[in-house]
C-alpha cells in the first residue's frame, strides 16, 4: 500500500547500500594501483621508447633502415633461424625429459612428491650464472666428465661438449626444465585417480588407460609448460652466450652486440621489436589452438 510512496522516496537504504558497494570496488581497485604504475613505468613506457628508437636510422632521422637491414641481411635471418631451432629443440627435450619425471612425481604420495619437488626447486633457485659456469666446468675439454671418461677409457679423445650447439642445449634444457615441470605437476595432481581406476575397471590396460585418460587430461599442463619454456628460450641470453662459445648466436646476443660493439641502439631496438612481435604472434596462435584459460590454470 505504501509502494508508491516508497518509490518516490527511493527504496529503503538503497543509496547508502550502493555507496558501500562502490567503496568496496574502489578499495579493490586501489590495491592494483602500485602494480599498474610499475607496469606503465617499467614496461609500457620503455617498450614505447623501444619502438621509437627502432625507427631511428644511422643518420639520426626517422626511417625504416633498421627493419630493412634485418629483412635483407642473411646474417639476421640465420640468427632468427638459430634462435627458433634452439628454442624448439630445448622445448622438446624438456618435454621428453620432464613429462616422465613429472608423471612419476604425480603418482607418489604427497610426502615423497614434495621431496622430489625440492629436488626440482633447488636448482631452480640457484643463480643461473652459477649453474651455467658449473656446466662449463663439467663439460669443457679438460673438464670433469672428459677427464674421468678418458681416464677410465670410455672414450679416447675428449669430446667437445661445450662452445657449440650441444653445450647450449644441455645448459638451456637444465635451466628450463623446472618451468615445464611445475605447471605440469600442478595439473597432474588435479587428475582424479579414480578416473584411471574407472578406465582399468572398464577394461583398459595400464598403457591404454594412460594414453586415453591420463595423457589427454595432462595436456593443459603440458601446453602451459611448453609455452612458458619456448617463450623464455626465445629471449635467452646468458647460457647460449657462455656455453655456445660464440658459435651459437641467438637474437638476444645479437641485440647485446649491437649495443656494446656498435653502439647501434636503433638496430638493437628493431631486433627487440621483431622478437617481441614474433613472440606475441606465437602466443596468439597458441591461444587459438589451446584455450588460453586452460594454460597455467589447474586443469
Amino acid at each position: 500500500m505504501n509502494s508508491t510512496q516508497n518509490l518516490s522516496l527511493g527504496r529503503i537504504n538503497e543509496g547508502k547500500l550502493n555507496q558501500l558497494d562502490r567503496q568496496e570496488r574502489y578499495t579493490l581497485f586501489g590495491l592494483t594501483v602500485p602494480y599498474l604504475v610499475l607496469v606503465f613505468g617499467l614496461i609500457i613506457l620503455p617498450i614505447g621508447w623501444l619502438f621509437y628508437m627502432s625507427f631511428i636510422g644511422r643518420d639520426e632521422t626517422l626511417s625504416l633502415d633498421n627493419y630493412r637491414r634485418i629483412w635483407e641481411s642473411k646474417a639476421y635471418l640465420r640468427i632468427f633461424k638459430t634462435t627458433f631451432q634452439i628454442s624448439i629443440l630445448t622445448t622438446l627435450l624438456c618435454a621428453v625429459l620432464g613429462y616422465p619425471l613429472t608423471y612419476f612425481m604425480s603418482q607418489l604420495s604427497k610426502k615423497w612428491a614434495n621431496i622430489c619437488l625440492i629436488g626440482v626447486l633447488i636448482p631452480f633457485w640457484t643463480s643461473l650464472l652459477v649453474r651455467t659456469y658449473a656446466w662449463l666446468v663439467l663439460l669443457q675439454k679438460k673438464g670433469l666428465i672428459n677427464t674421468l671418461a678418458v681416464d677410465w677409457g670410455f672414450w679416447s679423445e675428449p669430446i667437445k661438449f661445450v662452445h657449440n650447439t650441444s653445450g647450449t642445449l644441455i645448459g638451456m634444457v637444465h635451466i628450463m626444465l623446472p618451468f615445464l615441470i611445475l605447471p605440469l605437476y600442478a595439473n597432474m595432481r588435479t587428475i582424479d585417480k579414480d578416473c584411471l581406476k574407472a578406465a582399468a575397471n572398464l577394461g583398459a590396460t595400464p598403457t591404454r588407460a594412460f594414453w586415453t585418460v591420463f595423457f589427454p587430461l595432462s595436456l593443459p599442463g603440458l601446453f602451459a609448460g611448453l609455452l612458458i619454456v619456448f617463450v623464455l628460450c626465445l629471449g635467452f641470453y646468458v647460457t647460449p652466450a657462455l656455453l655456445g662459445g660464440g658459435k651459437v648466436i641467438m637474437v638476444a646476443m645479437k641485440i647485446s652486440d649491437n649495443i656494446e660493439l656498435y653502439y647501434s641502439w636503433g638496430a638493437a631496438s628493431a631486433l627487440g621489436v621483431v622478437l617481441l612481435v614474433v613472440t606475441m604472434i606465437i602466443l596468439f596462435v597458441a591461444s587459438k589452438l589451446v584455450p588460453i584459460d586452460q594454460v597455467g590454470s589447474r586443469s
Partner: protein, 358 residues
C-alpha cells in the same frame, strides 16, 4: 539387456595396513542375480572389500571367485565387471556418449554396435538425447546416471557400486534408490552395493552384510537384520533404537526389578541389551499378557513432521535410570491424548517385539 549374474564367493579375505586390520578373514557368498549391500560405518572395511572385488586392493590372503573362476590374481582390467564410483569418475575430456562408449571401444565393438548399445544404455538410465553433452554440463543426478550407463553398457555379469548416491540430495537419493533397485531387477546382474546409510540398505537390498572393524557381523535379509540383530552394534546402527541394559539370570531377563518377556530362549546369564524400536512402543494403561510395560516421565516431546518423538526417562526405582525413545506416527489416534512434558506414562512393548542382544 538381460544377462545372468555371476555368483561371488569370498573366502578368508584379509587385508592389513601395518598393525591395522582393514579386513579380517571375511567370507561371504553372493548369489547369482542378488542385490547385496555391504553396510557399515566409515572405516569399517566395506569399501576395502569392494576394492578387493574390483581388483584395486590386493589382500594379504584369501580367495575371490566369480562363478567358479578364481579371480584374486587377475588385474582389474581383466575382471570384466561394471563399477560405479563414489564420485562417478567420469572422464572430463569426453562427452556423455564417449564416456558410455569407452568400455565398448576397448572391447573392439564395431562403431554401429557401439552407437546402438550406448543409446540403449542411455535409454535405460533415462538420459536418451543427452549423448552430446559435456560431462561438466550435467547435474549431479545426471552424472550419476552416466556413470551407471557406462558401468552396464558392456553387460557385465557383476555390478559394483561404491556409495553412488552419497553426493545427491535427500529427495533425489530416495528416488534413485527405487530406480536402482528396479534397474537391478530388470538387468539381473549380481550387484554388490556399498553404503553407510542403513535406510538405503534396508530399502534396496535382497540381503545386507553388516561390516564393522574389518569383520562380517551379520549377513541376512533386511527384515531379519532389523527384527533380530546379532549384537548391540547392529541394533544401534540399523534403524532407530533404544538399548536398555538388562540382566539375565536363570533364563529370565530383568530390567531393574521388572521381569522382561522375550520370545527367544535365553541360553546364558549375564548383561544384555533390550532392543526397543521407538515405533513399536505404545501408550497403555492396563497390563495385558505378553506385553512388557515400562513406567517413566516424559522428558521431551518433539514434533518431527511424520511423527511425534517422545523421550521418556524410565522410573529409576523399578527400571534403573535409562532413557527410552518412542515414536507416535502422525495421524494415529494416540496423538489425541499426547502426554505432556513432565507427565507420568506407561508404555508397552509386545513380547514378540522384544529382543535381547549381547
Amino acid at each position: 539387456m538381460p544377462s545372468d549374474g555371476l555368483s561371488i564367493s569370498i573366502k578368508d579375505i584379509t587385508k592389513t595396513y601395518g598393525d591395522f586390520f582393514a579386513l579380517k578373514d571375511v567370507s561371504l557368498e553372493v548369489k547369482s542375480g542378488e542385490f547385496l549391500t555391504l553396510l557399515g560405518p566409515s572405516g569399517s572395511g566395506k569399501t576395502t572389500l569392494l576394492m578387493v572385488l574390483a581388483g584395486f586392493t590386493r589382500p594379504d590372503y584369501g580367495s575371490v571367485k566369480f562363478g567358479t573362476e578364481e579371480v584374486i590374481l587377475k588385474p582389474p582390467h581383466l575382471r570384466d565387471i561394471g563399477m560405479v564410483f563414489q564420485n562417478y569418475a567420469l572422464f572430463p575430456h569426453m562427452n556423455v556418449e564417449q564416456n558410455v562408449g569407452y568400455p565398448q571401444k576397448l572391447r573392439g565393438v564395431s562403431k554401429e554396435k557401439i552407437k546402438e548399445t550406448v543409446n540403449n544404455a542411455l535409454k535405460t538410465v533415462k538420459l536418451d538425447g543427452l549423448g552430446h553433452r559435456g560431462v561438466g554440463e550435467l547435474s549431479g543426478g545426471q552424472r550419476q546416471r552416466v556413470a551407471l550407463a557406462r558401468a552396464i553398457v558392456f553387460q557385465p555379469k557383476i555390478l559394483l557400486m561404491d556409495e553412488p548416491l552419497s553426493a545427491l540430495d535427500k529427495k533425489l537419493r530416495e528416488e534413485m534408490q527405487i530406480e536402482l533397485r528396479q534397474l537391478h531387477d530388470s538387468l539381473n546382474m549380481t550387484t554388490v552395493y556399498v553404503t553407510h546409510d542403513q535406510k538405503e540398505a534396508l530399502t534396496m537390498s535382497d540381503r545386507i552384510a553388516v561390516i564393522n572393524d574389518g569383520g562380517l557381523m551379520q549377513l541376512d535379509t533386511p527384515n531379519v537384520i532389523y527384527r533380530s540383530p546379532n549384537n548391540a552394534f547392529i541394533a544401534d546402527f540399523i534403524g532407530e533404537s533404544s538399548l536398555l541394559s538388562v540382566k539375565v539370570s536363570k533364563k529370565t531377563a530383568y530390567l531393574g526389578k521388572a521381569k522382561i518377556l522375550v520370545e527367544h530362549s535365553l541360553e546364558k546369564d549375564g548383561d544384555f541389551s533390550l532392543v526397543v524400536r521407538p515405533e513399536k512402543l505404545f501408550l497403555t494403561n492396563d497390563k495385558p499378557v505378553d506385553i512388557n510395560s515400562f513406567t517413566g516421565t516424559v522428558e521431551e516431546s518433539i514434533y518431527q513432521g511424520e511423527s511425534q518423538l517422545l523421550i521418556i526417562r524410565l522410573n529409576p526405582a523399578s527400571h534403573g535410570d535409562q532413557l527410552l525413545r518412542m515414536r507416535i506416527p502422525n495421524g494415529s489416534a494416540a496423538l489425541s491424548e499426547l502426554p505432556l512434558i513432565g507427565s507420568k506414562v506407561t508404555v508397552g512393548l509386545k513380547k514378540s517385539d522384544s529382543y535381547l542382544v549381547e
